[in-house]
Structures are given as structure tokens and as C-alpha cells.
Symmetry: D4
Subunit: 181 residues, 8 copies
């Protein structure tokens, strides 16, 4: 669980700091930010993207964890542009799970935090980031970070609680975490 630790404790300091700073800003959109790298002036910016191989490893590990926990889920991975990297519908997963997993993945990579964490700030009384198209703030979305910025989101849907969905997504992330810089 090395990556998770890093996320919570600092190597992704920008994100961690952000989470703190955010509490002091307008609550509705606090989560919309993430660490900002130095502005670039070259016409081509290098962006980290999760490899297909890593995506397969994540999906495989997540699926194994789901089977172990006797859960029927779908796993979706999207990259920082929002494009699909991987979709895997587990055996017996419900028809709603592809889209719920996709939106969790999209939300996690958009805001650079887990959807369970982000969801704590949504309470249904007034405008919030939950009104942004394509998002979903149920637990089960986990960002993949590299070089201090979110490069992908992993979303899992189908378990009876968001905590379980998230534990499956984290199991997937663990499969590649040691290799992420």
C-alpha cells in the first residue's frame, strides 16, 4: 500500500496540501483544484499516461480482489484527458456498473482525490461539483498519480458499499504502485 501512504502522507504534497487548503475555500468547489506545476513555454508538454500493461495489471488485481471478497463489479480506468484506458465488466456485474465505475474513475482523475473523500463535501443543499457532468461521488474512485499529478483514475462499481468498491480499486492500484514515480 505504498502509493496510498504516499497519497496520504506527502510525496504528493501538492495534492495533500491542496486538500487542506481547500477546506478554507468555498466548500462547493474546493476539490476542483490540484497541484500546479511550473508553467511551460515549450509548444509540447510531456504528459504521463498509464501504460496498457499497467492497466491490465490493475484490472487483473482488482478483479482477483473482487472475487476474493465475493463481489460482482466492473472496473474502469480513464486517463487524465478523460479517455477510456480500460473497461472490464466482472462476471455477474449489474448493468449499472460500467457507467458507475466510469464516472468514479473520471471523478477521481479530475479532482486528484478519492471519490469517497470528495463525497464528504457534497450535501445536496445548493450547487456543488456533483453538478458537473460525468462525475459521481460514491466511494470506489481512486486517482493514480505520477510526478505529483493525477494521470489516471480507477473506478469500481457493484459492491454493496462504496468502502468495498474502494478497497477493490486500491487493490488494483497496489499492483502497480511500486513502479509509479
Amino acid at each position: 500500500m505504498k502509493i496510498r501512504t504516499r497519497l496520504a502522507a506527502g510525496s504528493l504534497a501538492g495534492l495533500a496540501v491542496l486538500a487542506g487548503a481547500v477546506a478554507a475555500t468555498s466548500p462547493a468547489q474546493a476539490a476542483e483544484a490540484h497541484a500546479v506545476r511550473a508553467a511551460v513555454s515549450e509548444p509540447v508538454v510531456q504528459t504521463g499516461t498509464l501504460s496498457a500493461d499497467a492497466a491490465l495489471k490493475i484490472a487483473d488485481a482488482a478483479l482477483k480482489e473482487a472475487v476474493k471478497q465475493k463481489q460482482r463489479v466492473s472496473v474502469v480506468i480513464v486517463d487524465r484527458s478523460g479517455a477510456t484506458r480500460l473497461v472490464l465488466k466482472g462476471d455477474g456485474a449489474g448493468p449499472q456498473t460500467e457507467e458507475s465505475a466510469r464516472r468514479k474513475a473520471f471523478t477521481a482523475v479530475s479532482f486528484g482525490r478519492t471519490t469517497s473523500d470528495l463525497g464528504k463535501g457534497i450535501n445536496g443543499s445548493g450547487p456543488s461539483i456533483a453538478d458537473i457532468p460525468g462525475t459521481l461521488f460514491l466511494g470506489g474512485g481512486v486517482p493514480v498519480a505520477s510526478g505529483g499529478a493525477p494521470i489516471a483514475g480507477i473506478g469500481v462499481g457493484g459492491a454493496p458499499s462504496g468502502d468495498i468498491d474502494e478497497s477493490i480499486a486500491q487493490a488494483g492500484l497496489k499492483a502497480v504502485a511500486g513502479q509509479l514515480r
Copy 2:
């Protein structure tokens, strides 16, 4: 009402237990789960699907019940993949009923419970499964189960209350319930 009894009282033990277990988990997604069969290792999994004949019987019985109750409704049946099995717009049913019935059917087969039951857990204060695309938590959606898992959903829309819509859907289900294993 044999199937209904079974749903409430046990032959679908996994689902019943789940409903209980779910109460102990994160409320937002409690309903997203359903019984999990043993993991399979063969490349081809056999999945139960409602026959077209059974779908017609359900629709016919539901429509007769609607006429008896003087209600103008639409009936939609979707299978576990979310694909349409049957749509029937009753005489005089409003233009909103096709989609409301479809979403109730989709929701019932997704979570393996009636939409009226599921709707009790939705209160508008924060993220919930009601945010998942394609769902609707008004009464009138009833799952069809076979072999311990939901294989289809029946949705009815158009009556002045969800209770009436659900009674019409249940009348449809009763027409084939004795034959479901």
C-alpha cells in the same frame, strides 16, 4: 404471489441477507450489491435470460391489471445486461411513461430489489445510488429472479402513485412466477 413471498422470505436468501447486511454498511450504496455466486473458471458462463414468451405473458398480465385498476401505464422489461426485452405503451399512457418504466426496470434488475424498497434509502442529502445514470427510484420496478440472481427487471409507469405501479408490475410477475426456478 409465490415469487414475491420467496423474495421476501428466503429462497433468494442471498438477496434477503444482503438487504440486511447492507443496512450495516455505508448507506449510500448499500443497495448496489447482490448475492455472489461462486467464481467461475470456465470461459463461458451460463446466464439465465427471460424468454420472449414469458415477457409477453408478463406484459399481457400487467396490462390487464392496469385496465382493471383503470390506469394508463407503460410496461418495460430489461434483462440483466440492461438490454431491452419488451416495451409496451398502454392506451393513453403519457409520453413520460416509456422512460420512467424503463428506468424502474433497469434499477430493479441492477440492484435486485424493488424500486420502492430502494427508494427508502434515498433522501437527497449527499451522494447516493440515485446519481447513477439510468436509474429511477420511484415505486413500480420489480426484479425477476432465477437461480438466486436477478435476471430481469419489470418497470411500470403512469399510475398516480408508485404503489399502484408496483402492484401492476407484481401482477405481471405473478403470470410467470410459478415457472421460474
Copy 3:
């Protein structure tokens, strides 16, 4: 305002009674019902549809009322199948008004009541008919009834309050009300 009187006081007794009966049922979907005519057994049912001529008269009268009230609005009329009958974007009306007017019209013809009346039952705490796709419960949607059933909906959007939008829609309805049976 003859039609409006009739709607409130009786010739559309089915709808009026329904509104009352509805209060006694599940609040979430009370409005989804409307008067039910006797079941038909012939293969072809005659359905009343607003003529194009009547639609033009309604739009013309509504637009004149809007100009009189110095409002910039769009007017949309849909029939009982939900299909477009007329769309008219008034001078200077905002880009949101076509869709807001359309949804008000759709909602009014779906439930056979004004959207302002229907909106009183929506409070954001739990599932409601406001979750049904295509609906909008802001004031400005008015049903057109004939033979005891809604045959069309008039929707107006763009004024600073739903009351004003509704008064414009009612002015449109008045232009043909005397001719409706």
C-alpha cells in the same frame, strides 16, 4: 380564462378529482396519474391532437402577451405523444429558453396539470417525479385538454418568474380555449 376555470371547476372533472385523490396517495408520484377513459377493444383508438392552425394561434397570442409584458420568451407546444408541435423562439430570448419551454410543455401534457401546481409537491428530499427524464417543474407549463384528457402541453420559458411564464402560456391557451371540446 374560461378554460382555466373549467380546469379548476369541473368539466375536466377527472383531472380535478385526480388532483384531489392524489393527495391521499404516495406524494412522490401522485401527479403521474390522470383520468382514465373506458378501456377500448377496437384495434384503432382515436386520439385528439391539436391542429397546426391552433398551435400557431396559441404561439401568436402568447408572443403578443410576452411583448405586452416586455418579456423575452420561447414558446413550445408538444402533443400527447411527446412529439414537437411548435417551437417559437421570441426575439432576444436566452439560449436556455427553448429547452426549458419544451420541458415545461412535456411535463404539463404528461401529468395533465400546470407545472406550477406540480412543482409544489417537489421538495428535493428523496425520489420524486422530478427525476423522470424530460420533465421540468418550474412554472410556465400548461396542459391543453380535450374530451377529458390532456392532448397537448404549452410551455413558456424566459421570464423572471414562473408566474409570468405561466400567464403568457395561459394567454396562448385562451386564444383557442373556446373552440376546444
Copy 4:
């Protein structure tokens, strides 16, 4: 009212006559027309709609014919407004059949002729009615006429040729043809 008489007599001969007249006009859009009734001046026009009961009879008869011919098909019926009346996915029908059947039904009711007949005028060299959204000109779409005008379309998709699909749709139509006026 010659066409009406011939329609009542059982075949779709009336529409066939129309097809003949049409052949004398510009080929690309010849099929877009259909018999025109006298202009109405009343605000409410009565429109014939196929009853839900008739729709079920058509679907049931079509499905029986499909089983007899050992074909796996979907059946869709839409009314003259383009709204869904019935969808039935037969056992084992492919995932493309719901939409192909729907478009054939839509096309048949739009132009008042069979899709096989209409398709003869489409050759891929330049603009044609095949460019209109929602249409499909493969065999299997059959109009249902009443009072000299198309009131519904039956579409069947899934058989290895349009001729077979059409024979199944015609079997469905035959189940109610005697009762249409």
C-alpha cells in the same frame, strides 16, 4: 374514399396505389408523400392510433411466425408520431435487431409504404431519403393503415434476408388487418 375502401378490404392496396402515383414524381423523395385528407379548421384533429391490445396481437403473431420460420428477430411497432408502441426482442435475437426493427417501423410509418418497396429507389448515388435520420431501407418494415393514412409501422429485424423479415411483419399485420377500418 377509394383508398380507404381498398385498405379495409384487406391488403395494403391503397398504399400501393399511392406508390404508383408517387412513381411519377421526383424519384429521390417520391416516397415522402402519402394521401392527404381535407384540411381541417377545428383546433382538435382526431388521429387514429393502434391500441396496445392490437400491438400485442401483432407482436404475438409475428413472433409465432418467426419461430415457425426458425428465425431470431426483434419486433418494433411505432405510431405515426414516431413514438414507441411496442418493442419485443425475440429469443436469441442479435443486439442490432432492436434498432434495425425500430428504424424499419419508423420508415414504414413515415412514408406509408413497405421498406422493401422504398428501398428499390435508393442507389447510393446522390442525396436520397435514406439520408433522413432514423430511417432504414432494408426489407422488414410494413405500414399499418387506417382511414387512408398510415397510423403505425411494424418493423422486424434479424432474419438473413429482408424478405423473410417482411413476411414475419406481414404475419403480424394479418392478425389485426381484418379489424382495421
Copy 5:
């Protein structure tokens, strides 16, 4: 600026000249051009838009012409931004006519020429402007010009030939043509 002059003089002659010039360019996209006014440097550009009143006059005149010709059509008017100005579904018009009329209107205002004229350049052998989303090159689309540029498009759909549809659209245009500058 010859074209502008002729356009200001009243007929759509300027556009006709454009059509000629266009024939000398690459055939596939020849029609995508239109007269270009001098570049502006102010931050706000004044754009001519058809008034709602004029739109109603066009629709009314077109509908009268359709009734006179015993045709069942829809009329759609879109402005130069592609936004809907007016939609009117005539009595008995088919379900395909709203979208066919809309696309003809869109095409006419996009390219500043009638769709019948534009359609002559489409032959199905290779890429063409007919591949651009939202377009339709059947007769019945007519541009409305003012100040040397297309400001709206009128589209008519439903008659058995594009020539008839276009004559109905032209009758609509004639109702306001004298007032256009």
C-alpha cells in the same frame, strides 16, 4: 463586393452568383463558402437575425401553401448560429419531417444556397459536404439573406418531392422577402 450589392438589391441573386463562382473550385466543398465581409476590429459584431414575427409570417405562409398543394409538411427555421427559430409540424405530417426540415434549414443557412442546388454536387463517390453532421441535401431548404449574408434557413419536409417542398419554403420566404434588406 459585387455579391453584396446584388444581395442588397433584393433578390437572392448574389447567392446565385456565388453558386457560379463556386463551380470553379474544388467540387467537394465548393458550397461551403459564402460572401465575406470586410474584417472587423471592434469587439462586438452586429449580426442580422430574423425576428420572431417574421418567422411566424414565413411559417404561416408556408403552411397555407402546403394546404393549397394538399401536402403534409413540417417547417423549420434556424438562424445563422444554427439555433432553432421556429418549428411547426403541419397536420398529419410524418414523424421524419421535423428532422428532415431542420436539416434542410441548417444546410441552407450554412452554405447560403438552396439544398436542391447544393444537392446537384453530391454523387456518393467520395467525401463531400454531405458528410458534415447536421446537413441534408434533399430539396426543400432555402436560405434567407440580409445584408449580403445568410441570416436564416427555411426547411420544409414531407412532400413527395424536393421540388414541392422547396416551392412551399419559397412561398414562406416570399411573405417577408420584400422587407429584407
Copy 6:
């Protein structure tokens, strides 16, 4: 914050008055109105549109401000018809920012006020203008006015709070504000 002052204090007097008047009307739709110019009777209405050059200046200034504030955002400008004028995705901006910025721009030009101001009236308890498709009431949407009416909307999305997004949008507006009449 010069433009903002003007919006509140006078040159857009119609809107300011409206905002006041609105407080006395139904709260749900108060914001749907805007100043109404005198009704026109000519068939062609002149509408102000932001020039492409001005759009580029706004985007450039907004982006520079975002870099200065170390924020990763997208900027979208839509005109009064709702059509896209400009979209610019900043370096490292999240995948949700294009659509969030677009909706803020759409909302600002629809209602002629900033989204932060409009959002204060949305509280999640019952129908509101937030139910109108295409809208978003998070801070970051700013209207561009000319001649007393909104002619465009600027939307910014991606910063951790709506206040920051709005300050970036205002910086963009300032780049052309002096030139707007």
C-alpha cells in the same frame, strides 16, 4: 473588477433593476429574466456578437491570469444563441473543465448575471433554474454585455474554488471591457 461594478451599479441598469424586482417574485426562477428592449417590427433584428478577435483576447488574458495564480483551467466563451465562440483547455486542466466551463458560460449568458450570484438562490429544496439543461451554478461564469443585453458568457473551470475561477474569467473580460459599448 470594473465590469462587475458596472453590472451592479448602472450601465446595465435594466439588469440591475431586474435583479431587484426579481427578489419580489417567485424565488425559483427570479434569475431567468433580463432587460427587455423595445419590441421590434422589422423582419431583421441586429444582434451584437463578440468578435473572434475579442474572444482570443479574453482567452489569452484569462490564461495569463490562471498561470499567474498557478491554476489549471479551461476557458469557454459562448454567444447569446448558446453556440460556441471559443474553447481553450489550459495546460494540465482536468477532463471535467471543458464542460464545467462551458456550462458556466452558458448559464451566465442565459441569465445575464454571474454564476456565483445566481448560485446563491439555489438551495436544493424544490424545483429551481438549476434544473434547466445545460446550466451550472458554480462560480466562474461571467456575462459579457453590450447595449444593455448579454451578448456572450465567459466560463472558467478548474480552480479549487469558484471565486478563483471567477477572478480568472473577470481578468479575461477586463481585456475587452473598455471596448464594449
Copy 7:
């Protein structure tokens, strides 16, 4: 069970036999058919579905083949209901490959033949199955059969020719072919 045997033996010869039979019917839709099993009368039909594990094996093998052939592709697997089973975007695959692969997979499972084989019957002169929504007849789509019927489709997109895409899809199929019954 001849087809079954041949499928197990490695090629898709069984399906090829079907293709032969089909060639004797109307060419336009010949491919729309597939083997028909005996009609069922039970309410629940058992349908074979590819397991998630098998889907991962197919994707992994296909990706390895693509890397070996130095191709950048996406792989999509859909089941017989048309629902997504797996999506994997390979490293450097173009943005068009997800949808092209999906449509090839959809087409292969819809008609039970390879898309390269089906594409030979499409020539652009008149209506064809290529007009059915969701289909694509470029090489790279391969059906997965079990029990004499297609249960899934594998689609690959991104190589410079359909032959290469198909060889990659076949490499994926080979990874599980021995286990299919």
C-alpha cells in the same frame, strides 16, 4: 453438432458454413442470420456469456500480438446483448480506435461472422446492413461462438489494414478457443 466441433478445432469454419447457406438468400441482409436453436418454452433461457477471465486472456493475447506486429491498437469485447465486456486501449492507439474496435466487435457478434467476410457484401450501391446503427464492416471483428451461436465479438482497430487488425483479434481468440464448447 458439427459447427461446435469445428469451432473447437480452431478456425471459424462452422460460421463459414453458415455464411455459405446465407449466400443463397437476398444479398443485402444475408449476414443478418445465424443458426437457430430449437424454440424454447421455459420462461428462463440459458445464454452463454464469455467470462471476465476469458476476456482478460483474449485482451492480453491480442495486445501481445499487436506489440509483436508493432501495431498500436485498441481491443473491445462485447457480449451477445451488445453490452461491453472489455475495452483496452493500447499504448499510442489513436482516438478513433476505441469506437472502431467496439463497432467491429458489435458487428461480429450481431451477424456471427468476421467483419472482413461481411464487408465483402457491402458495395455502397443501395441499402445494406452497413446502414444499421452501431455496425462497422472494416476487417478486425471476429465472433466468439459457443454451442453453435455467437456469444461475443472481439474487435481490434488501429492497424494500417483490416487484415492486420483481424490477425490480432484472431490471436486473442486463439487464447481461449480450446476451452470454448
Copy 8:
């Protein structure tokens, strides 16, 4: 035409070679390929993306060229994931230009060649890459390459011929070409 030369003669040698090689493969999909870099095994792949600053420079230069050529066009830039980088609607550009420019940009970055070049292989007789959703093969789409692979596409729409659109897109590309590696 410096960039164009480079495309043909060297730094993008892989693409140039591909174009040649492609001619020897199945014509329908020849263009779907592009140079393949060595397979990577690290979990994070670095991908070049055009900076926002470069996008603005391209748009500004393209717009200036369009004004110089008296053309009214839209410019769209999409990145290799297909996501929008920039959209700019020029003054007076038609409503079809945003989408036509977007599709040209998408097509150019998908296949790594200009749309005019790709369009030569499309002839309307049978399946082709023109059937892939989101593509458009009219001239005006130009790829932006870096490190031997397409990283973005520039699309221009609105001029009377694809050649003119392409010359405007090339003018945009030239503004940053010297800085691309």
C-alpha cells in the same frame, strides 16, 4: 510550406514511409496506421501534448490567414486522445464549421496524415475508414507531429474548398512548427 516539406521528407519519416507502405495493403484501412515506437514496459508512458500557448498561436495565425484570404472559418485543435484543445469560431463562420473543423482535426490526429491526402482513398464503393465515427475526409485537417508521432490535429472548416481550408490550417501550423521537435 516548411512543415509540409518536413512531413514528406524526413523528421516524420515513419509516417511518410507508412503512407507508402499503406498503398500496398488493403486500401480500405491503409490510413489507419502510423509509426510504432518500441514497446514500453514502464507503467507510465510520456506522451507529448501541444501546450495551450501553442494552440493559441496556431489559432491566431490561422485566423489571420483566413482574414487575409477573406474566408469565414472555424479552427479546432484536438489532442491525440481526441480531447478538445481549442475551438475558435471565426466571425461570420457558418454553424456547420465547428463540427466540420473538429472532425477534420480528429481525423488528422487519428491517422497522422492530412485529411485531403486521406480523402483520396475514399470512393464510396464499400466499407472504408470514412465509416468510423467522428471522422471527416474533406480537406482542412492537418496533423501536428512531435517525436515521430501525431500529438494533435488542426482542423479548419468554412472555406469554399478543402484546399483553402488546408492552407489556413497549414498557416496555423507554421506558427509553431519551428519549435516542434
